[in-house]
């Protein structure tokens, strides 16, 4: 049991009370394998008797449609995009993540706000501004930073869902084709993540390995966290 800790002011109008669950975040570049790991973690934790909930960017029903529409047009500016993502984040945090943590769930978050700051920084958005915006964010119990070389990302994506416009940062005009743009853009993103890693105390995970060894490495960090606190529950379902 612990009182919630926010990076900034949080939600001053709301009495939150102690959070009995755990917030675990997986961060890292596009194609690094976060969602694969989250699926495996969920299965494992549930088998161990924990109640698990997961969340990820743009999954808020409040903003999902608006973001999709905005991204399909040509008039979306960097500040507007950034704020749309902030709205998505705030909605999920207040209405999903916090209630789940109050109820004792382990919440697995596929990205948190660090990815958004990293992406915005590459689009010229002021970093200080972004960081203060996320003063509403709850400090996670564990932030796992899946770190892989850009060549690993390319392999995984080409054999997976393919390269896409936004993940290649085509809006930044770094190159004239999807492949070169992807390489350039993800390299920039990695630099941003490395910087954020220092600021927010990420726990690095070697994601150049195969899926299983990555999973084992992540499990060790999570076990350490859970042994320290959370009692294996009486599933609050």
């Amino acid at each position: 049991m612990k009182q919630p800790v926010f990076y900034g002011a949080g939600f001053p109008y709301r009495e939150i009370g102690p959070l009995t669950g755990k917030l675990i975040v997986l961060e890292g570049n596009d194609g690094v394998g976060r969602s694969t790991q989250i699926k495996m973690l969920r299965r494992w934790l549930e088998a161990e008797g924990y109640a698990v909930s997961d969340t990820g960017l743009t999954r808020s029903t409040l903003t999902a449609k608006g973001i999709e529409e905005a991204k399909s047009g040509h008039t979306l500016g960097p500040l507007t995009l950034s704020l749309f993502y902030l709205a998505d984040f705030a909605d999920r945090l207040e209405n999903l993540i916090i209630p789940a943590l109050q109820a004792g769930f382990i919440v697995l978050s596929d990205r948190y706000f660090y990815s958004v700051i990293a992406r915005d920084a590459n689009r010229g958005v002021d970093k200080e501004w972004s960081r203060k915006l996320y003063g509403i964010a709850l400090k996670p119990d564990l932030i796992l930073y899946m770190k892989a070389s850009v060549s690993t990302l390319v392999q995984r994506l080409i054999h997976g869902r393919g390269l896409n416009y936004w993940e290649a940062g085509m809006d930044l005009h770094l190159a004239d084709n999807l492949y070169d743009s992807f390489i350039a853009y993800q390299t920039l993103l990695s630099k941003q993540f490395d910087e954020l890693s220092e600021i927010y105390n990420f726990v690095p995970v070697d994601a150049d390995q195969a899926v299983e060894p990555i999973f084992e490495e992540i499990k060790i960090s999570i076990l350490e966290l859970l042994h320290n606190q959370l009692p294996k529950s009486k599933m609050p379902k």
Binding site: A9, A70, T80, S82, F84, L86, A90, D91, E94, G135
Partner: protein, 245 residues
Amino acid sequence: MLKENTTKGKLIVVEGIDGSGKSTQIDLLYKWLQSQGYSVFFSEWNSSPLVKTTTKAAKKEKSFTPTTFSILHCTDFADRWENSIYPLLKAGAIVLADRYVYTAFARDVARGVDPEWVRNMYSFAIKPDVAFYFRVPLDIAVERITAARAKLKYYEAGMDLNLSENINESFKLFQGRILDEYDKMVDEFGLTLMDGTQLVKEQQKHVRNIVKRVLRGWEGLPNPNMPPKEQSKAKAKARNSGGEA
């Protein structure tokens, strides 16, 4: 906090609680500036086509929290900022805004959002050349609104705050909180205080005198729809009829 205006344009905004008469005043100012041959544009709070579907749905379903309400109104502002207000100011136009960042600072803080946080969120915006704050006592504003409107809306009445079960009562309490926030901002941001209980005509005279002073000696973006001769004549007239020398 807000950036100084280093563009060639001029930014003039009106603020005040619902029923303060600010929209009437800015509408009159807009028409007058147009008639004087200026390149003048108008931007209204909560009007971005890109954000509209999201806000509309959330209002209908009452699914806003004070924070998401605050963020989506800033998203709306950011879209108007990036696609219209800022480029127009850069081009040397006059931009008039019916409500500006101060509306968010007043409303969102009245809803319990952290004042520093919301001020940071809007810190990409430029400090207006004039920010008129039309102040009216709460009772007068409430009377104007309830007389003009068949039904108050859920969020405008602050019903999400559970101040009262009665919508009229809630509206009054919420507008009172907003009024307090506005009053606090007069000094913080150097708002130009206007007496919103005066006659519309009197207020407009006052508004124009202040705007004339701001525009004196300023050369903005020429308006191609006005013959050049007319333009200089109109501007000379505007300059000469300015308040004090």
